[in-house]
Symmetry: C2
Subunit: 331 residues, 2 copies
């Protein structure tokens, strides 16, 4: 029995190439007193992971060269010397891109596997869903009747942002790449309109789909989309800075939003958020979103690939614009 | 008796050249029933006026070509058919760059000329002072012990921001151009430290003078200074976007802050403000700041030039980096 581990071999420049990671097969660790042995069932693939590969200061320490790549996971307890957890329990946490881990389970929480398919705990009922929930409700503060614009709208975060905004009575417009995704967010998720940014008519499309301006812009992408959204802000608009996927693999300097003075004209604010800050309220979010899922108001979608050895190529799917919903690797 | 008027002749590109304005001598208007005839005593020169000369959408309508240039003023009532105002009353409002105006006085308010020298009503007890007061206290929300950084620190707004932040118990660092201004804000206004941005060592100087990071950054200038401040934000920092004087005469696209993702890392916010939104509370600000002036806690400084016909060249002093305090034209 071996433990396949994916380790960070170097700091990538631009899109991580195949040499960025090494695949190692090591012995399965033995849990000590107070520990569990976890077997990884699903690994979460998130755009934020690209940032963790950089050496620069951020909201979390970089992954060290030679360390197992950090990742969110759903795992099963296969051996327990822990007072709280028994064999068969399902734990969500950050076990990283590896098959096994021995841990005292700090930072993990158990979930009820009967509530939802396991990958959902990495998506709508996991970090991306919590990011959408707290980012929209606590920072975006949408009010019924307002227009909410969200980028990366077919993704794990954006798709939840838009659906929660609809639940809250807002007019919701999503930005996504390609006809298939645009159709998905309108026809399956109930968005009021979609903008296909690949068409190259972003400004006109934003004007057409947001005729009354933008009250909340939830930004997952940065770059030209953020800059264009700034030109259509309503008074006292709120921009939630959640991510900037268009900039993560830049080899040049990040492009700043040159229209930022719209914040002054519109007395608007642009505010950054990181989901970890809301950890104490994850339970509230899980309960409310779980209810919405059961009522059919909140739809989840996971894009599941198989095989830990396919981590590198699956990770790149985050950036090639093809995936829909939450990207997950089944181990 | 003639009324000298300065009118906007064209929309300037970059720094307004001499042909941007025309000087006209017209008859003095006659006040109608319910109106006063105001004689302009002091004209306010503000960076925001540069924006009003542009055709583009902003928080206030552009000055029309051929119209008297908009400006804040202190005027004396020289004839009155108005029930509320008598000859000799001093009114503050927006009479524009002209010697006389007949008006129903809507948008004007009378001031007690015994309280302070008249130019102060265009500075610390006028729009710039109110901008500093509300921008810092309502948007910046400084707490005692925090570090407040302000750019344009020797200017009409920045000098008041820094002094109010000191009154509120903050550590205050000002950014200004040149040794003279830096000495002024530290030695005369009581700032804790100054950064001379002309030295070209902005990043190192910010690190040295803000060793504990930045909690509030009050931005009057934009450009590279804003971008550098973004790299030193503390958690939950607040950036007040009040202006961007470095960008107002740009002939190229405004440079956006490429480090804006620090907002995410630091869970910080960047928020625009326009003083007009606080009009109903100007009285509160005037009373509190008047008290600080009397107690010697808040120092005011006006840079007064003479002659309405010198409007163009005096206006340019806003941008040549030489003026200190509030720039005013005496008519």
């Amino acid at each position: 029995m071996t433990n396949t581990q994916i380790k960070l071999a170097k700091r990538p420049v631009g899109l991580p190439d195949a040499d960025t990671f090494t695949i190692e097969k090591n012995p399965v660790p033995t849990p000590g007193e107070g520990e569990v042995l976890l077997k990884t069932k699903y690994i979460s693939l998130d755009p934020a992971m690209r940032g963790w590969m950089n050496a620069s200061r951020s909201y979390i320490a970089p992954v060290e060269i030679g360390a197992v790549m950090r990742a969110g996971t759903v795992s099963e307890v296969v051996e327990s010397k822990h007072p709280k957890y028994a064999v068969g329990d399902i734990l969500v946490g950050n076990a990283g891109v590896q098959e096994y881990i021995a841990t005292d389970a700090k930072g993990y929480h158990s979930v009820d596997a009967n509530l939802a398919p396991l990958p959902v705990f990495l998506g709508t009922l996991g970090m991306p869903g919590f990011t959408a929930y707290f980012g929209l409700l606590r920072i975006g503060e949408p009010k019924a009747g307002e227009t909410v614009l969200v980028s990366g709208a077919a993704g794990a975060v954006g798709s939840v942002v838009g659906q929660i905004a609809k639940i809250k009575g807002c007019r919701v417009v999503g930005i996504a790449g390609g006809e298939k995704k645009c159709k998905y967010i309108v026809e399956e998720l109930g968005f009021d309109a979609a903008i296909d940014y690949k068409k190259g008519t972003l400004k006109a499309d934003m004007k057409r789909t947001c005729p009354d301006g933008i009250d909340v812009y939830f930004d997952n992408v940065g770059g030209e989309i953020l800059n264009t959204a700034l030109t259509r802000l309503n008074m006292h608009a709120r921009i939630v800075i959640c991510g900037a996927i268009s900039q993560y693999n830049n080899t040049e300097e990040v492009k700043g939003p040159s229209n930022y003075l719209s914040l002054l004209v519109s007395r608007a604010r642009m505010q950054g958020m990181v989901v970890f800050d809301y950890a104490k309220d994850y339970g509230i979010a899980a309960q409310e979103m779980g209810g919405w899922i059961q009522q059919g108001k909140l739809k989840t979608r996971e894009d599941v690939y198989e095989g830990i050895e396919n981590f590198h190529e699956t990770f790149l799917r985050l950036f090639n614009g093809e995936k829909m919903g939450k990207l997950v690797l089944k181990v």
